[in-house]
Symmetry: D2
Subunit: 473 residues, 4 copies
Amino acid sequence: MLESDHDARWGEGCGVFGIFGHPDAARLTYYGLFALQHRGQESAGIATSDRGEIRHLKGMGLVADVFTPDNLSRLPGNIAIGHVRYSTTGRSLIENAQPLVVRYRGGMLAVAHNGNLTNALQMRQELAARGAVFQTTTDTEMVAHLAARYAGADGHKDVVAAIRRAFQDVQGAYAMVLMTEDRLIGVRDPHGIRPLSLGRLGDAWVLASESCAFDAIGAEMVRDVAPGEMVVVDRAGLHSLAVAPAARPALCLFEFVYLARPDSNLAGVNVHMARKALGRRLARDWPVEADLVAGVPDSGIAAAAGYAEEAGIPYEVALVKNRYIGRTFIQPTESDRLEALHVKLNALRKVVDGKRVVLVDDSIVRGVTSRHTVRLLRAAGAQEVHLRISSAPYRWPCFYGIDTSRASELVAVGHSIREIEQMVEADSVRYLSVEAMAEAVGLPLSSLCHACFSGEYPVPVDPAQAKEVFEYH
Amino acid sequence: MLESDHDARWGEGCGVFGIFGHPDAARLTYYGLFALQHRGQESAGIATSDRGEIRHLKGMGLVADVFTPDNLSRLPGNIAIGHVRYSTTGRSLIENAQPLVVRYRGGMLAVAHNGNLTNALQMRQELAARGAVFQTTTDTEMVAHLAARYAGADGHKDVVAAIRRAFQDVQGAYAMVLMTEDRLIGVRDPHGIRPLSLGRLGDAWVLASESCAFDAIGAEMVRDVAPGEMVVVDRAGLHSLAVAPAARPALCLFEFVYLARPDSNLAGVNVHMARKALGRRLARDWPVEADLVAGVPDSGIAAAAGYAEEAGIPYEVALVKNRYIGRTFIQPTESDRLEALHVKLNALRKVVDGKRVVLVDDSIVRGVTSRHTVRLLRAAGAQEVHLRISSAPYRWPCFYGIDTSRASELVAVGHSIREIEQMVEADSVRYLSVEAMAEAVGLPLSSLCHACFSGEYPVPVDPAQAKEVFEYH
Amino acid sequence: MLESDHDARWGEGCGVFGIFGHPDAARLTYYGLFALQHRGQESAGIATSDRGEIRHLKGMGLVADVFTPDNLSRLPGNIAIGHVRYSTTGRSLIENAQPLVVRYRGGMLAVAHNGNLTNALQMRQELAARGAVFQTTTDTEMVAHLAARYAGADGHKDVVAAIRRAFQDVQGAYAMVLMTEDRLIGVRDPHGIRPLSLGRLGDAWVLASESCAFDAIGAEMVRDVAPGEMVVVDRAGLHSLAVAPAARPALCLFEFVYLARPDSNLAGVNVHMARKALGRRLARDWPVEADLVAGVPDSGIAAAAGYAEEAGIPYEVALVKNRYIGRTFIQPTESDRLEALHVKLNALRKVVDGKRVVLVDDSIVRGVTSRHTVRLLRAAGAQEVHLRISSAPYRWPCFYGIDTSRASELVAVGHSIREIEQMVEADSVRYLSVEAMAEAVGLPLSSLCHACFSGEYPVPVDPAQAKEVFEYH
Amino acid sequence: MLESDHDARWGEGCGVFGIFGHPDAARLTYYGLFALQHRGQESAGIATSDRGEIRHLKGMGLVADVFTPDNLSRLPGNIAIGHVRYSTTGRSLIENAQPLVVRYRGGMLAVAHNGNLTNALQMRQELAARGAVFQTTTDTEMVAHLAARYAGADGHKDVVAAIRRAFQDVQGAYAMVLMTEDRLIGVRDPHGIRPLSLGRLGDAWVLASESCAFDAIGAEMVRDVAPGEMVVVDRAGLHSLAVAPAARPALCLFEFVYLARPDSNLAGVNVHMARKALGRRLARDWPVEADLVAGVPDSGIAAAAGYAEEAGIPYEVALVKNRYIGRTFIQPTESDRLEALHVKLNALRKVVDGKRVVLVDDSIVRGVTSRHTVRLLRAAGAQEVHLRISSAPYRWPCFYGIDTSRASELVAVGHSIREIEQMVEADSVRYLSVEAMAEAVGLPLSSLCHACFSGEYPVPVDPAQAKEVFEYH
């Protein structure tokens, strides 16, 4: 379970939500974003359309901090889209919060984006060469500019055609919801790298990054938006268009490992079940003699339970996490002479004392937290600590919407398993292979994006642009 | 694991902390209170003593919201005490936040209290009759008044003697830490109803409601403060005094069920282990044919794991909780026509669909949440839902520091098991007996307070006062 | 006009307000305090009585910052008292904000105080010796303790008698409003040092530090509360009692110079008219050849106008003050290399260039601001600057409710007029005599307190206590 | 003195500031904006340029509320521009706050604008037709778009040429400061309707809407930026370019009446002196037998003093204003039954009782406040109240940057002097003529914009656009 975690180790991408045809559109979007909060905690925004006017409200912080009954009531209308965003600190500006709302010759347009456009820099330069001005540093603004340019030009008489045309210019990973004065639109990139699902609540249509948002508002999952598909909802109903020719599907494998919420289903696979299956496979591939299996809260718990089941070793709660850690928490620093503090995580001595422990986690970033956790268990008396990771080594930067700005610090880059064992001070460290991951999840490896593990990028990334990705996202 | 829960079903009592002899006294108290945050989220306060002057800072809200690096730096000194408080809404006043700091003829005194004085009303009347004025509605203020009266009078030449004398006048359940300009004092009531432990960090002495606060700051547990004991720490070291003749020990049994943090040890028993043992006993006493065992997050998880182990039925995660629910969350209301929202809790359909589920929780308050949870599971396809409670029916108000202001609404009062089954819409509901609880926890029933289950109150409560308890606490 | 000034040079005392018999008691108190805001900007508070229960709300900051429509609505009742407070930084604690509300054997009591009790320390010691505890460092708490002690004791059967008895124990300067569950009480010390007036709004009775608060709510001034008088308002109407034998009246002369609002009338004298008269007298006593007369905004404006009229020299606006200076303003510092900033005050070059200026101010504290102002005028081209002060040299600390904690820094202490001229860099500096001040104001010198100018204290101050006054107030 | 007034009756325009070549650029801009705060209180913003990167910070509220030492320190660089903005409530969005900062092909550009572009709607449509998108509803965004389009196109090789070219497309009233990565630019429209001055602080160049901002930071006034002039400051120094052919100068006459600060000099005329001269002329043109002359605080004070001098009637303070009125003040409402409240303004009975009063104000908007003030004086005993207005009747909407969204409510529209007298309940009401105003100010009428009084607009306004002006500005 990762949905709780202010202390997120991976910069998540973003979460998007949209609804068409409900009198409580803003309020339902609030609850939908709330269910997607784990995908981004830096900013939140909602835009609604009412009688030809699009209003929006955005703010830094959590959904529940940005919105109040009072300000929600000032977002009337029965169409709405919303966004939660994660961002690196440097570019954590209110200007970059979404939905982005613009006025152009065709009227108004609101855009909310999860993903990353790999040709954003090039598009930016082309648009700038024609005299465009940019007020954000997001790739999302490119889509608005392209749609505005095509609207009314090149024979595109209507907004939908213009937006569709715009998507032919963009490359990369994207799951977007857009709103005009009278339409809700959802688009997914040709590989379907980032998830986007379609749901139904009575007569209303709903779009969301993950199906858990449908459950939150009592809507029913209809299906995933298909890779390369653009769904348009207007008063006449739902229309399905193609924005690009078919490409091999490449759903992000890391969504199953870490990003998505356990109660979401992606490509028909339940995320919690996938995590347990990853743990079971881990037990088969990397067994070890031990007295108990424990998970690192919250992200390693499900895989640990799977490992324990498969291995026939008792599953135990060995670590307790303090859930009150938030943004305002005062971190202990070395200069405080308080290094020994165990405020965030504590070990249960009565559980681990004298025991051989299998510690399961979903991934290792820099290894510092893992080492801290291993030390914590040893200090509580653990005889052995065997670290088992329910994914392959994370070695390559993601150019498709996950912040890996600290990619150079990834412990799996340039270190052997033996070296990692020494660095995290574990008796052994073992990872899954990418093939084993795909089998455990139950989807063909060929239908998944595993670039962060394998370096095989489904959408080409120009090295020069790669640098900009870090700068601009 | 209950430590996370803003959405607390039971009004917890309070948490206290104290430290003597550390240059970072305020900062360590901050971390100590942080570890005790689960005991009270309404207000937080820290008082420190520096060169004969006691300073304090209190505020409404969480520890991390009240304190900042800036304001902590204005609390110098190497002695400190702290407090986190829960309170019913009506009396949720900043005036009632603790530590209470007073000036009196002997100097200054700071008091932080967990518990409830059963003769508070009578003491209040007696003190008032002598002309005392009160600025709070807490029983804690009584202790300050009594200590002030005895200081310098009745032959009590020193503060410690006056405070000790004061405690001979009070009855009820209390675990208190007090601070004079140059001393740290801890007192526990003769029955030891509320917990209080003594720890050591280098040369510094530490007091805390639960041992998890020692782990948080890297301190070591030394021992529990004994029932009826008063420990005094000054420059000469630690002194142990008796405040009252020996009485039968009666540690609160509900601490093991719900109140304490799983990584704390009370009376030598680890709380998490106790909860698993309660679950195992539940499986032995109330077995049922089922396909899986699930716990209500977070408080029922440990007992569910114990039940599953003992019953040989797979333990599963069937419910996912949204951890971003906080004070600012906008609750859906019936007038929103959004009753079907599952924002706080969601069920995993792929786990429970078509299955017979044993659902384990630690207790039932009004039954409304339990019914909601049962319905959630059935909507996700559960064939049967058997509710197993890892404690006895909670039927009696607590007069010893737990807010049971909604006592009249307790579902176990005046309803048979059959009726409760119907109310919560479960296929079956079963509780543990008090005797079974004590055996599972591993402490003699005669050494525990189980009044909330049995109505057997270790300290007599005058019915007339009982009413006031609700009013004043 | 001084009512505007966040940048107050003198620590004002406090302002008190009370109303009995109006359904909008809290809201009218809000407006009353608003009119008295110039008397204290550190904290504000209102207490109301409704059906036997006294509620209160206090906060740091301005009246308009502390109260909202929402929180005012939670102060029901048709009796209310309020308080605005100034305090030195060190003791600027929310605990010391008023009204002080206590519970005692007679019920509840709320107290709001303007002034200073000269025997506070002694009373504190006596009360402490009997076992009293104090939660504030204010002398106001003494009155509550005394009233509580006398209530029910010594044959005082009712609260009013107890409160009246309490005032026989206190000495010093005080204008207090008190509220019991069903009464509003106003008390003024035997010398009437601090002002307190009685007004009427329809059937309701009103008390306020200054008559401007009556105008604010549309009430009519009835009369001043007499020195040594205690007025009690209950359902039967208004009752007048004596709290002490007659003493010589000694209304604070500095109220006319600086403290009170120009639209208030004290002892029948309008404050603005008094200030103009002080300026006229200044022109008669200390004429000088000049081209124009200017006042230091805001406190010197009225006297400057009087001076100009009497001298027959044109009155001019030579200085403009930036009214947006507030608490959050970032002060320029020397380390900023921005010393030349004239952000708060600016001179009108076109007015003063080449002119001989009479600059009128009400008083000089340390001389630093005066020197800055003189320099500002010279930099704008003034040929000569003659400083005229519409009061006598301020040389003695006030023990009656004005914060003169910086008394040691008063420029008039230990410096001759010649030295002051050099320090403030003026061509000449002249003050009024105390006798001239009284004549200008139009009240007998013998009926005024002029201790800050003359050192003749109407109520004796024990030097040992004097020190404590600074500490405790 | 009007600079104080939260309670502004006229929607002011905006204030702009810029500085080039000072290491404390952001901090000096803070003080400069502080001095210009009277020109706009809705939002404030500062942008700085450091090493090729432009950073900015904007917020709703006053300068002192938006900026803190902490966030100012995050605006490094030795070039800065700033803006304070007034706006009608409906469009009071953070998106519309300035400086507007954009990225375009030429780099980055920051723009701060005071005025109104009369062809904004047309430009918007043209830009939109070419595919531009807009994120604000301000005309300022047009300038950024135009500059971006011209940069690199049409043979304009450098940014300055592009910006200069852009200004040939815009019409209306504007005083703008712009900043590129390495330049500070100031532009004033061909008529010079809105003021803009150039100053010097050591080696640094400064631009500001009014000269009072120079005094605030210790800078010296150099000269006004000329109508139609564009000044460019770079490392090589100051350059002067023309953006448009010469047109008749038309400086806003209302700046002298109300908008500007008294210590500013516009076109060489001191604003305070101009106001006094307007009052003197008023006395000559519209004498009346009276006992005293009083001004409405704060905007009528200077003219009242001039009137009194000229008429030989004593000037008196008859009205006292409460300076603590701010945004958070709870307005009394009729439903409160508190209509009689005189919280904001109070009359001095001792001054006006039995007297014939000449009341001087700078203008009348709807007449409601004037009637309230006249009633206040009569209630305080005034025998006669003669209202004298130091400007001509304000009858025409301003299309050049002053918010006159309530133009339809202007009392001078469609009412005779006799009717106005009846509406405001004065014994007489008299205005100045436009010719008399110009003579008093000392500038040729032909060099001033007096459209709001005369309807003679120096820049043609298309009626269709006029409507949009209200919508979009």
